[in-house]
Amino acid sequence: MPSPFFNGGEDVQNIYAIELKGISKYFPGVQALKNVDFRLERGEIKALIGENGAGKSTLIKILTGAYFADEGEIYIFGKRIERMTPIISEKLGISAVYQNLVLAPHLTVAENIFLNDLPSKLSFVSENVLNQMAKEVLKKLEYDHIIDPREKVKNLSVAHQGIVAIGRAISKNAKIVIFDEPTAVLTSKETDELFRIIRELKKEGVSVIYISHRLEEIFEICDKAYVLKDGQFVIEKDIKETNEDELISYMVGRKLRKDFYVLRKKGKEILKVENLENRKLKNCSFNLLEGEIVGLYGLVGSGRTELVRAIFGADKIDRGNIYINGSLKYITNTLKGINNKLALIPEDRRNQGLALKLSVKENINLPIYRKISRFGFVNSKKEKQIAQDFVEKLNIKTPDIYKTVKNLSGGNQQKVVIAKWLASNAKVFIMDEPTNGIDVGAKEEIYSIMNELAKNGASILFISSYMPELMGICDRILVMNSGKIVANIPREEFNEEKILAYAIKSSIVEEVDSK
């Protein structure tokens, strides 16, 4: 893709794909980046790591022109870019998968993938060509049979939206591709596909910036790791010359525990779900005991989210019973769910978890205003106190509790979603991908909070697509497949292959069944 912007620079050796010099960026109350230098060579895969709010997303947004740096210089393929805009950055061959995906939900998959480059004759879009092109892209990701290019994006699950965002980024023959926590919304199967793609990109000489809080991924595909802390450059390491612990200590400044499992006393049965069915669920039964942490694993679209939403009263149930502490409950709306001491941390934080325009304080207190008000008046002291407590406890990086949640970093937004529900006095915590996009240090915090909750008699249903963390903390793991619960595996029998086999294989079994 020849472009006027890097003609002439193409063949010169020792020119970096990206060179940033002295980049600084201020937001009200925070300096997101301080005098950061950054270089990316051609064909290099560089990991960008750091705690939540370290400035990773800000850095890449400056690269793509989404933000404008307050100080510093940007060179792309040796050419100084005075004022980067999304349009220029596209032309320069930079494309990105943003942390919060940023897709146009009302447009189709194909339109989203090729939005700025719709194939057209006399500015009339050729739908067939477009859909065909999108199919090609999806085929590269091996999703051409799963995602219909003509489907509207708003009808896709978050994971599939992630695939679309990745498809868009790799569709443009870009020279530089940036992935901001792509795997946060993916399961292991898609992650493998993604890595395959990234390796192919590297072979083609494309440079890649890869952001993730899952360090083993970085060791799997990256060449170098670049560490940011509090908006400042800390160190850059060749991946072969370092290890996880070292990187963690650069990021967090301390050592982390590896295994979080704590043996706890289990109490009586607190939640029992019996033959639950709706349009996505088939005959789901399971139970939770006091003090138990139960994992729920499954592939994308296996129905985990559907299951927990139905239990919480967010979606309709067609058949089946839910017992809380042994008595049958009809949970027909979320308020009843809450009154029955359920809590749901939803997976899609932007659409379901947060009121983005409101402050940290209001978001955290939203489910408990009922409790902290008298005669309808909110006890502001308590309100502030609770918000302050959780900001400290979860180390939410924000200048103050009055900051609009929209302006927090992705991981910190997720922490707010978690804090929201920890503040309630629920007995059953349902957490749908709670550690999405959360840094290693904070994950440790969250695991210990989970342990703490369980120790105090609560019980936790923990959905994650990240098997190591399920295996690390759960007493049992339930596996879902095509809307059914297909396995209930106790801790003693945990085994990665086995769990994955249930998640994948039984779908084959079922296909056979139905024939």
Partner: protein, 312 residues
């Protein structure tokens, strides 16, 4: 077994059919050639404005200046025609001006970041002020008779005015569904950030949408002039609500990314049918308002119910 999928336009189409059957039974005059042509003529202007409005609404915007711009065009065109400027030149000038007014709306909205509601509300009072200044507050008389004849003329048995609406609907439907610009319009309404980060030039799209709307207000103003056969500085008051109502009735969402030109057409048709029917059935004008309000709510409620069901 394929299930028929209803969409908003189809629901509206059924509503129109139902209304027409009801009116045909209730009034012997309804289904006469002359009355159908009345409906077409009456609908032409409102329809064109509704189609323009839907484009703006799809971007999650709004244009309250529509009525004032219609009046501005009406007065300027009348002044020019009464002053013997050639018709084609006069039309050219007013279209430039109305498009320019739309462009200014776009600039104020995009570059100054003023919400569309305020920007176009301001333009509504500014354009009205300009209209009154130009006309000195008085009506403008003395337009060539050919202008009036045009409004009552037919082409292929269909009122000429209605052809304008037909062409507008077809062209806008094509633009919205088939062109790159159309896709950008929906993208802007759906998620401006996503569109921007994909390299879509939101400035151009915003300018384009409001200028296009302004152009259509210009067409509306020209048609209004032929119909009124004079310049009336107060004409167009309240048109914004009618146009928005027709667009929303036709399935547009004020939160953007939903709506179509065809929907706006049907929305306008429903409203005109109701007004026409009310006159034919001689319904007390006070009751008319109550009935129109109820019908409006019922139609949209039915459509919402369908949407909900098809989502389940």
């Amino acid at each position: 077994m394929k299930k028929v999928k209803f969409n908003t336009q189809m629901i509206l189409f059924l509503v129109v059919i139902a209304l027409w059957i009801f009116l045909a039974v209730s009034s012997e005059y309804f289904l006469t050639y002359s009355n159908i042509r009345n409906i077409m003529r009456q609908m032409a202007i409102q329809g064109v404005l509704a189609v323009g409005m839907v484009v703006v609404i799809i971007t999650a915007g709004i244009d309250l200046s529509v009525g004032s711009v219609v009046a501005l065009v009406n007065i300027m065109l009348s002044k020019m025609l009464a002053g013997h400027v050639s018709i084609s030149l006069a039309i050219f000038i007013v279209l430039i001006i109305s498009t320019g007014v739309g462009l200014i709306n776009g600039i104020v909205i995009y570059d100054f970041g003023v919400p569309a509601f305020i920007a176009t509300l301001a333009m509504m009072t500014i354009a009205r002020g300009a209209t009154l200044l130009i006309s000195g507050g008085s009506n403008v008389f003395g337009l060539p008779r050919s202008v009036a004849n045009f409004a009552s003329s037919d082409f292929l048995g269909i009122p000429t005015l209605f052809w304008f609406l037909i062409i507008t609907v077809i062209v806008m439907e094509l633009i919205l569904r088939k062109t790159r610009f159309g896709k950008y319009v929906y993208a802007l309404g759906s998620n401006p950030e996503a569109a921007r980060l994909s390299g879509v030039d939101l400035r151009i799209v915003t300018y384009g949408v409001y200028a296009l709307a302004g152009f259509l207000w210009g067409i509306g103003g020209i048609l209004e002039t032929t119909r009124l056969w004079m310049g009336v500085p107060t004409t167009g008051t309240g048109y914004e609500l009618d146009a928005i109502a027709a667009a929303v009735l036709g399935g547009a969402s004020l939160f953007g990314a939903e709506g179509s030109a065809l929907g706006a057409f049907f929305g306008a048709l429903v409203m005109i049918t109701i007004y026409n029917g009310a006159v034919l059935l001689n319904i007390n004008p006070f009751w008319q308002r109550i009935i129109v309000g109820i019908i409006l709510v019922v139609i949209v409620a039915i459509d919402q119910f369908r949407k909900k069901k098809s989502n389940d």
